[in-house]
Symmetry: C2
Subunit: 377 residues, 2 copies
Amino acid sequence: MATFCMQTLGCEVSAINTVNYSNHVGYKRFKGRKSTADEVAELYAGLKDAGLNNFDVLLSGYCPSAALVEQVGIIARERRLEANTSPGSFFWILDPVMGDNGQIYVAEETVPAYKSLLRDADLILPNQFEAELLSDVKIRDFDSMRQAIRKLHQTYQVPHVMITSVRLPPTQANTPSKEPHPASMAKLSVVGSSANSKGEPRMFRITVPALPVFFSGTGDMFSASLVARLREAAQHAGLLQTEHWQSPDDVQSADLPLAKATEKVLASMHIILKDTAEHYEVAAEKYRDSMDNQLNLGQGEEAKEAKEMERHLRLTRAAEVRVVRNAEVLRHPPDVGEFKAQAVEEGDVKGDHGEDDVADELGVLKVAGGDGAAHQT
Amino acid sequence: MATFCMQTLGCEVSAINTVNYSNHVGYKRFKGRKSTADEVAELYAGLKDAGLNNFDVLLSGYCPSAALVEQVGIIARERRLEANTSPGSFFWILDPVMGDNGQIYVAEETVPAYKSLLRDADLILPNQFEAELLSDVKIRDFDSMRQAIRKLHQTYQVPHVMITSVRLPPTQANTPSKEPHPASMAKLSVVGSSANSKGEPRMFRITVPALPVFFSGTGDMFSASLVARLREAAQHAGLLQTEHWQSPDDVQSADLPLAKATEKVLASMHIILKDTAEHYEVAAEKYRDSMDNQLNLGQGEEAKEAKEMERHLRLTRAAEVRVVRNAEVLRHPPDVGEFKAQAVEEGDVKGDHGEDDVADELGVLKVAGGDGAAHQT
């Protein structure tokens, strides 16, 4: 997913796999193996020996062990050092994949391993739970989110933060009615910030309609597309020779390159995911009836479980993100109209456009479905 | 290379790597490891367990051991059996990577391993030397090439054959002068054939200008692009439900789907390789002078060798095929004008368009450069 998205947006990619699986783990059945830190180190050494390690951007994602997280840090710091004399010539986008919805799905020692890397990252892409783990701030509203982001900017010196899933408890102002929102009305938000020269957050949010299906790989589609779009936006702003591509203090949050890039990425992704959801619904409908009938035939537990698994596999496949056949939409995003970034000012409870959508339970880029524990690979 | 080309042409790809290297071996420096037959078997078993193995097309390339060749055969035969009741629903394109220019660069036992797979392949993509190894016919002219292809069609039951490099010794009619051709005038040919119902070859050739640089990965760009284009041409001809996508006997060689598909692939590739060659020339020019000066400073042997290696690495990098930034050309081939397929009739010595280009020493899709022994990976 990540490699194709970057390539189709014009990036030359050297990919080092941190796992070699037959398929993504959302299927619950997969074979293959995790890479070791040594294997990753060896492949990077090979690139270096061949003079192929002068990357402009490093995108790092899921690491199956704390040792591998540390190895990624070694690579990134080495590149950072090499690029020292030429500001902006190396940019590290770090997706600290650790968990979601209050659950850690990596080894405990991975958390401090990621913390110790933050100082060298240019942009991090935690979801809300991961942002809490990294900042040690419990996020309950925009105020505490600002605190968390400020801590990441100031204590950990991370210039750019993007929280890829926002799931805030209802506030007094926007307690939802007892009726659940119909899925078609659900919204989800991402919140980003680029620090100003004092380390103060410049926060923006973008809200998009949520889709009622879990699509594995959307996190990687987001981060990979952001690599290309952020570089483009930074170039447009004349920041490619500026350390961390950091915008001058007079740039307002909604005008940040990070905001502009994210608008485009989300506008493209929404169309691709909508097409995927439509395809999924057709496929799901087809299996549903026949499967339901089979499940009610009063078979033994084992046969029932096998049928359930079969159904899960088919639905997971139907939910595979249709990115290859929609690559044109990645390359040429539609008008960003409804995906415009909105400034989030100090003291804002609900953002500045007066909607109550941040209170939605469905507020995730990866909308949780049957396999919410799926890793990004 | 192969995965991206197929994806950008709209194919959903499950890739199983037969090697995991840091970079292609044309650099002469690389790290990483070969996959074992067991690893490939395990990943395929994983796909099967998850219900993800119902491929329309299998493209198999370089295998680092005879055991791995056999493993690929096991996978292909299994799919063939499953697809038995539904003709045309599975198509195997086999690139029997064994050597080039009279040199085998895989283990000897790989040759019989490939021979035993031929019966299950739909299309094979040997270069001239590999076609000789598989058919046991020495190819000296179009007559002997027809014999080799006939043997592959009849004895080994391969419906479609594409010889991806043609390098015939000079005939009386077209003995080249002592002067070498200037590189810009060199030509190269591919020769393809789809058997008719009697197993007789329907041979065509396409001649394209050769470029004086070795580009690693062109073989994979060719085979991967052909996957998408051949399926498209077969669909256009209404052959997707026909076993082996075999054309009726009244279809002439130059009108075969294989010919139509190859025209498009070569037309796209030529533009991409021309752009790569131009980029290479600029880069090479830049290094040449400074390097030459450094090489003549009368240093010790070791320092000289290091400089030579450095130069080789840089030039190899400059020759990396610029496919990502030219993907649009793959997706939308130019007019195939000069790449029109020409029938090769029984008794033809030079093909039907009267040029002597088949005699060129440079007649390869992968034009041999400094690293002619580079594997396709």
